[in-house]
Symmetry: D2
Subunit: 151 residues, 4 copies
């Protein structure tokens, strides 16, 4: 039964727990220093503070860092709308790197565009935050596969 006290976009506490557990098991997210920043139904935000260990050759965030948190944000956004017990796999994604990714941290936003029984499509956006400025640095589109719970 869904929780009658939660807001429309709020996720059930078991969904939140499922996402947090899975995120905590991703060695790469810890290794990069990424944090799960926001979690609502169909939308997840991951934050990644700047470190020299995340750069490309000019000292900006590497596209691989932006992409890694974008992919995870989209994947977990999908997981919030999947049936209980499901797992999520990324089928594919496409990402445009539209500006140099410089700033104190990155914020990747994954948002479900359309959710089907097997496949779900998400929008991916990555912003670089420098002081009070928030610049779109990457935008993408992702296809997810919902792996049903094993019975």
């Amino acid at each position: 039964m869904s929780d009658p006290t939660k807001r429309a976009d709020e996720v059930d506490s078991d969904v939140a727990a499922r996402v947090r557990d899975s995120f905590a098991r991703q060695g790469l997210m810890a290794h990069l220093g990424a944090e799960l920043a926001e979690l609502s139904s169909g939308r997840v935000v991951i934050r990644l503070p700047y470190r020299d260990e995340l750069t490309q050759q000019d000292g900006f965030f590497h596209a691989g860092a932006s992409s890694a948190i974008a992919d995870s944000a989209g994947g977990y956004a999908g997981l919030t709308v999947f049936p209980a017990g499901s797992s999520v796999l990324t089928v594919e994604y496409k990402i445009n790197l539209v500006a140099p990714a410089r700033g104190e941290h990155l914020e990747a936003v994954g948002s479900v565009i359309r959710s089907g029984r097997t496949l779900t499509v998400c929008q991916l956006e990555v912003f670089a935050v420098a002081g009070s400025e928030r610049t779109l640095v990457a935008v993408g589109q992702q296809t997810l596969f919902c792996l049903p719970a094993k019975s």
Copy 2:
């Protein structure tokens, strides 16, 4: 002048040096533990040994790790065919994750499909190597921008 002793697909030593220098400046490649494994004209291979710090929630290599080395392999493949002094930017890429990425190491192969004055298109392939088995785990396509040398 091009070196008359090199093979057709061999890169000039200054091109090789340019790629190795740029790779060495990528904080993320070192942080992941990636190595530049092969370098020829229009083709670069990057190798990434397994570590728990590179995993997704099921213990396989994270798509973000596969993508990061695929993006770098393609970018450097492009750089080998660019005019001297140019830099490379990734405009966008698309990647399909076609099998679980498990094994002792990953190998990302970036190959130039078509090179233009401003834009270059590369094929990206990532293989997982486990003992004597080599499995295609990701395949993609990437658009690069050639930033000419500043005069």
Copy 3:
């Protein structure tokens, strides 16, 4: 000089004329029966009425028809924000077909996400309209190249 009587999102009459002229020269748009339906700064809508000549094997609109109008809508959306005299080339696009495209007509919406000097990124959406229902059937992302006016 920009026209002081036009709305913020309105395009100058010469931009509108440039888009309409180019659209009229596209043999394929006429052959498919597509019409330029809306035109504002950074956003273009193309409408495509149903015909048996546009179908795939199950009688729905063919993905090729959806894609063709999506690509043109994005390209012209880009052209509305390019400097006078520029031309537009599609570098690449990616499109997800998220629902069967059935209805009386399709509507492709191209919207500029970020515009640079050389490259511009657009969002592509295609809706199928059946009576009062409007269903998202495709969503994509496109990279455009701005070819400057020949001097």
Copy 4:
């Protein structure tokens, strides 16, 4: 039982019939003037002769025409490796337009890269043929969905 007289890449006659029947039902392919040119296991070629009705604003083949035949070539390449009675849906594709598409005809080649139970990934290539010259004008990657036979 598979036919012992056929070559490794030859398709069973029922598979060939299934592809030809489906192609013949695609109103758009006939409307564009496209022909099924080659058909082997995991690889399909579609040919599209030049007509003024297929052009973009500069008189070359419209990207929408290239994409439509590329999408169909990939889809049917997938269908040749699917279990009997299956149908094929395009999940998404990405295509780079790498050269102006001018010539007497286009040739779209769809090739299966990796085939899974539910999802299959194809490479898409489009060549423009002008006299004895054959130029790569588009290259892409496509994800297909195998819809099992209804029991």
